[in-house]
């Protein structure tokens, strides 16, 4: 019996590993044409679905052609659904007789993903810590239970609802306060922050609650104030759990699709201010996957691969950090 159980546990563990590896290989294979075509330049190239003349060595200097191509595609990228047709048509649209090809660069969604996540973290972290401290240490038991329950419910709301709420109620407020567009990096980041906030607060509260009473009492018994106990005993004691909650939230924010799709504007354009609209990787995938083909499809897989590696790196870093701290 024990043998069977051991085998089962072992094969489950291996299965997880195989799935991970399988996902990686699938993504990599599907992304290969784009990787071969664009290489690492993909990461720093802001152009998406842009026609350029077939590269002769000096073609890069021919700014006027590329420039007009940019403005041309820009108009159409606003309506993201046109994407697929657009790339299918590209050969026919070719008016001047120079042969062209379409290039794809991932910089815009990459920037959108990273910055919306950073805004979300910057917004959610202090508030989540405040809520957690309130629930774990300050609020009377009844209130803590009630508010804590409400916060856990908030964490269970599907993200699309956050997206709709954000679009109709939050976006106008953000635009009124900070200027700029209603749908923007900032709006997406803030609503993303609201989304991860309950999750972060709940886990932080739980890890703060693991601080043994006797340890807190020891600090109070030396004449510590509540603030000092929180700062010097509870936070250091639950540090690992708190950082864990931040990293898990980070992982959530990186991959969040629906809420961001409503709010980020979904245009392939580098934002100059945080109040500008742009796009993130998951939104780019969700919006364009249906219609993409050929190199466009492969580039989407390239984006997915980048997102996968990013999330994986974040989690691995977290694990590594914790293991080192724990020793």
């Amino acid at each position: 019996m024990e043998k069977i159980f051991q085998k089962f546990a072992f094969s489950s563990a291996t299965l997880v590993f195989i799935i991970l590896l399988g996902i990686f290989i699938t993504l990599f294979n599907a992304a290969r044409p784009a990787i071969n075509e664009f290489g690492l330049n993909f990461i720093v190239d802001p152009a998406w679905n842009k026609e350029v003349p077939i590269t002769t060595p000096q073609a890069k200097t021919d700014k006027s052609v590329t420039q007009s191509a940019v403005s041309n595609t820009d108009d159409e990228t606003v309506d993201v659904n046109d994407f697929g047709d657009d790339s299918d048509d590209m050969m026919m649209q070719d008016e001047d007789d120079t042969p062209t090809k379409t290039i794809y660069g991932g910089l815009v969604p990459l920037v959108g993903t990273i910055f919306s996540t950073l805004i979300a973290l910057a917004f959610a972290m202090p508030i989540a810590m405040g809520i957690a401290i309130f629930l774990a240490e300050i609020a009377p038991k009844k209130i803590a239970t009630f508010v804590g329950g409400a916060i856990e419910l908030l964490a269970a709301i599907p993200s699309i609802i956050f997206g709709m709420w954000g679009l109709y109620y939050f976006a106008p407020i953000v635009a009124a306060l900070f200027g700029g567009f209603q749908v923007s990096l900032l709006t997406a980041g803030l609503v993303l922050g609201v989304m991860i906030l309950p999750f972060m607060a709940a886990i932080t509260r739980d890890s703060m609650n693991t601080t043994p009473d006797i340890l807190k009492e020891s600090a109070y018994a030396l004449g510590a104030t509540k603030f000092e106990v929180i700062k010097d005993v509870i936070f250091p004691y639950s540090k690992v759990g708190i950082i864990g909650s931040i990293i898990l939230s980070l992982g959530r924010a990186l991959g969040e699709t629906m809420a961001v799709a409503f709010l980020i504007g979904s245009i392939f354009e580098l934002p100059h201010k945080i109040t500008d609209p742009t796009i993130s990787i998951p939104v780019a995938l969700a919006n364009n996957f249906g219609e993409a083909s050929g190199l466009g499809m492969s580039s989407l897989f390239y984006l997915a691969l980048i997102l996968f590696v990013m999330s994986f790196a974040v989690i691995s870093f977290a694990k590594f950090y914790f293991l080192r701290k724990a020793n």
Binding site: E217, Y220, A221, L222, G223, A224, T225, P236, Y237
Partner: protein, 260 residues
């Protein structure tokens, strides 16, 4: 002369109808060790935790009677049950320190653990801090074992060392009274012996109240013993009288192991 005088003291936990301590009158004498003994659940911890009002971290307790504490500076007694403000609580807990059943090192270095009470009291001067940390560690018979690794985490010490560290941490703030709640219950016999020896040492500077379920420990180290039963103080006397010549039948039954 008593440093603390508990008078007609009753204590009731929130949500409980009957008091857990009933009409306790007991002195804690200066530079003496007073042991609190009695069967589990008789209220020893409850009484000890009233003496620095650590109970008040949790709301809704009911106190009756008086607990007078001698203030060494003014030479006057003050009823600690009157305390309401946070700064008065802080002062009380600096005067009346506490050691718990399990070692409770803070998640910081050995030095920072011992310096903690001093730092939160506003002492910033580096050399004063290190002098007082050294003195406290020496006074707790720990200096020779940790002097070469003061910067290392306190979590790496053995259980017995951790408990002596907690004593050093409490001693560093120079309390008048130290309360020990079964301080050796989680330790092996050798560490226990070291702690007992240390407590006897400390008596020269600090008055001590110690809860113990170990009657040998009470008889070995204490000067006075209070026997408690079901929230009552049954008998209080010099330790030798309690153990050799108890006046109450219940005390005798407990001492001779007939119950509890």
């Amino acid at each position: 002369m008593p440093v603390m005088n508990i008078k007609k003291f009753s204590f009731t936990y929130p949500g409980v109808s009957d008091p857990s301590l009933k009409n306790i009158t007991l002195p804690i004498k200066k530079n003496k060790i007073t042991a609190l003994i009695g069967p589990s659940g008789c209220g020893k911890s409850t009484l000890l935790r009233s003496m620095n009002r650590i109970h008040d971290l949790y709301p809704g307790n009911k106190y009756e009677g008086k607990i007078d504490l001698l203030d060494f500076e003014s030479g006057k007694y003050k009823n600690i049950l009157d305390i309401k403000k946070e700064n008065e609580f802080i002062k009380l807990r600096q005067q009346v320190g506490m050691i718990f059943q399990k070692p409770t090192p803070f998640p910081m270095s050995i030095f920072d653990n011992v310096a903690y009470g001093l730092k939160i009291d506003g002492i910033k001067n580096k050399s004063e801090l290190s002098d007082r940390v050294e003195a406290a560690l020496k006074g707790s018979a720990l200096w020779s074992e940790v002097s070469d690794r003061l910067g290392k985490s306190a979590m790496g010490l053995s259980g017995g060392q951790q408990q002596r560290l907690c004593i050093a941490r409490a001693v560093a703030v120079k309390p008048e009274v130290l309360l020990f709640d079964e301080p050796t219950s989680a330790l092996d016999p050798i560490s226990t012996a070291a702690i007992e020896e240390l407590i006897v040492e400390l008596r020269n500077d600090i008055s001590i109240a110690i809860v113990t379920h170990n009657m040998q420990q009470a008889s070995r180290i204490s000067d006075y013993t209070a026997f408690m039963y079901l929230g009552d103080l049954v008998e209080y006397d010099k330790t030798e009288n309690i153990f050799l010549n108890p006046k109450e039948k219940r005390t005798e039954d407990y001492i001779t192991g007939r119950f509890g």
